[in-house]
Symmetry: C2
Subunit: 408 residues, 2 copies
């Protein structure tokens, strides 16, 4: 089944090649479709890797595999399967991941633990090893492809193809970062969202890459939600080939560490926004900022309570400045809040202040703001200095159509 | 705006009179509608009262008023306003509640703190005191009405009128309990749901009534959810007039205490089910039981994670036995769970066992079960003895239509 392209879609950008990271795609035909659904990215020896994966208590075997492989901090390849998440498949699912890693490692003459595997799609059906192996063989034999081909091959219910790029100056060298991502529903990342892959030619020590990715994740992937439903397969991996020949980044004291951190955070921000823009049924991108909380963590929880409230999301879908539902969502978050200090704005217009409606506020700019594609909601709690911003989308008939029809 | 009657509606039962509790309804016209929207129930001196109210951090002034009045444990009247929740209205909202209590107390020659007030409807608009007072005066002057009239007068977006009754033998006397309730959306009670009122002629000490109500609430109102959105106004109050002349129930050692507790719990169960049956857009009543958890509390949290998952709710709306989404919801709950011990059933059919799909399970009874109006989902975690059952409804286009259109 395919759905109309999200009205919030952005065009796919030009993504440069990353020396040392060579992408290939192939048809494993995990579903009865005529498209590439297996991705293989060969990584040159010495590539550092970092990752963040779902905190689900029922993760896919791929997530467990990556979690173990990340401890070793080296990567020679990434393999991604689309159409079958291989989650909740017991010993057969684990065996499938091991078979993929083994065959790829044999091809590259490396250790299986240098192979990173991710899968996305239906839950509960063991990934067919024969299809995976045939797909891998085809990928090994294929010509390299573009990042756009990769972004298309990793997608499932995505309505548009998502990628981003940025650069940073490190040690006098320009380093390049590219990222591709997929995701549309089952989006409420705990530590990461669905599948996202970042490649850079920067020389970066694995531990520092992990620190920078974890930090970037906290303000980007961990701050988006489509439906509050955290996936069993969420994975973001970052690979650094070192081909830019900068003096390796080993810690915050390294020259260019700040620039690299900023570039990585910017890339993660772009990728996370693209996922929300493809939220199932989304017609509006919603940015929710909570300030004046007792702590940043408290602000984040309140912001997520608002972002996951179906009543807030449907009100915005209906272009209704229903700030009473925002009050409700603040109140149910279970975090410190005082009704009589609470203020709320839509766009730039204060609609409620210190516990009651702003009398006679001008509804015209509010109505105009809500008619747009990008809606901002601001909440001031008046308690402390804690703040957080999160992003979500509205809840529409499109979400119901997609999810009450999509057959497992 | 009015919506089609829920396909899960039940007929309103015959509700007997409760000696000592005399209901009246009147038109305060809080909205431009032609219906009674103010309820006044006169309670004879000596009526005991108990209550559970929302845990929202942004409660309505009515909730705060009741919370304070409950400490005193006596009731002479209940006043309910429909069409305006008076929540988030600052000092004017508080003044409105005080005015209602004062006028009612003056009429009955009692203390204002003996008057219990609840309001439901739009958030953020101060309850108009003039309309409330005129409505009260009309109610004082009116003939008593039926419980059905009360159930209709307290409703807002409800698509059917909800009440229940039961009896118990206490100290050789038959005591009668009746209850009315309203609620359809913004339902995820923390300690209570929307507005529910219970009247009994049993003689019950206030403290014991509170203990019995709190206990009944924990397994009923606190176990339902429509949309995960906890209201600012949730209130359940129970009044016991003592007219049945049983030896007063003062504790669990009193004769008939168990029978009364059981009857109250049964009544609360009936009322809570009615709210889920009127869940906005609901077409199916869903019962979710989680067993084998580390504790009852853990089981409850996992069951609520499933019940609030939009992906589970839309799958059931689409009559799709998508147990992968149940796995996802178990995994995201943050409670102890082990994927490889997890088993899931729809109706009586085991579809997944110990971490993977039951191969070749018979889909026929599952499909038939999902086509029905009442769907049961069972989860066995295989970890301990903890169990919980919660109730919710499916998520359909009806929910979106109701909430993206309903203008604040």
């Amino acid at each position: 089944m395919s759905y109309a392209v999200s009205p919030l879609a952005l065009p796919f950008p030009e993504l440069p090649a990353i020396a040392g990271a060579i992408p290939h795609v192939a048809r494993a035909q995990y579903k009865t479709w005529d498209r590439c659904d297996l991705t293989f990215v060969a990584l040159e020896p010495g590539t550092a890797v970092a990752g963040v994966v779902t905190q689900s208590k029922c993760p896919s075997p791929e997530v467990e595999w990556c979690r173990n492989a990340l401890v070793l901090g080296e990567a020679r390849a990434l393999v991604v399967n689309a159409g079958n998440s291989n989650a909740f498949t017991g010993g057969r699912g684990r065996a499938a991941v091991e078979a993929i890693a083994a065959r790829t490692a044999a091809h590259l003459n490396c250790k299986p633990s240098d192979i990173f595997v991710a899968s996305t799609g239906v839950i509960g059906v063991p990934l067919p090893v024969d299809k995976a192996e045939a797909g891998l063989d085809a990928a090994f034999a294929s010509q390299p492809c573009s990042w756009r081909d990769v972004a298309e091959a990793i997608g499932t219910t995505d309505t548009f193809t998502k990628g981003a790029t940025t650069t940073a100056i490190v040690d006098g060298k320009t380093v390049t970062l590219v990222g591709v991502i997929k995701g549309s529903g089952m989006i409420a990342p705990d530590m990461a969202t669905m599948l996202g892959f970042i490649f850079t030619d920067a020389a970066v020590d694995g531990a520092f890459l992990q620190a920078a990715l974890s930090s970037a994740n906290a303000g980007t992937f961990s701050c988006i939600t489509v439906d509050g439903d955290t996936s069993t397969s969420d994975t973001v991996l970052a690979f650094a080939t070192g081909h830019a020949k900068n003096a390796p980044l080993t810690g915050d004291e390294s020259a260019g560490a700040d620039a690299f951190r900023a570039a990585l955070a910017d890339l993660c921000h772009q990728l996370a926004q693209l996922v929300v823009r493809d939220g199932e049924g989304a017609t509006k991108l919603i940015e929710i900022t909570v300030e004046g909380a007792e702590s940043d963590r408290s602000a984040h929880r309140i912001a997520m309570s608002i972002a996951n409230s179906p009543l807030v999301k449907t009100a915005i879908a209906g272009e209704d400045a229903n700030w009473g539902r925002v009050v409700m969502a603040v109140g149910k978050a279970g975090e410190p809040a005082e009704r009589d200090r609470l203020s709320i704005r839509f766009g730039a217009t204060q609609v409620a202040k210190e516990g009651l409606a702003v009398e006679g506020y001008d509804e015209t700019p509010v109505a105009a703001h809500l008619k747009g594609r990008e809606v901002t909601v601001g909440v001031e709690l008046g308690l402390g200095e804690g703040r957080a911003t999160v992003w979500t989308c509205d809840l529409t008939h499109g979400y119901i159509s997609i999810n009450a029809d999509y057959r497992s």
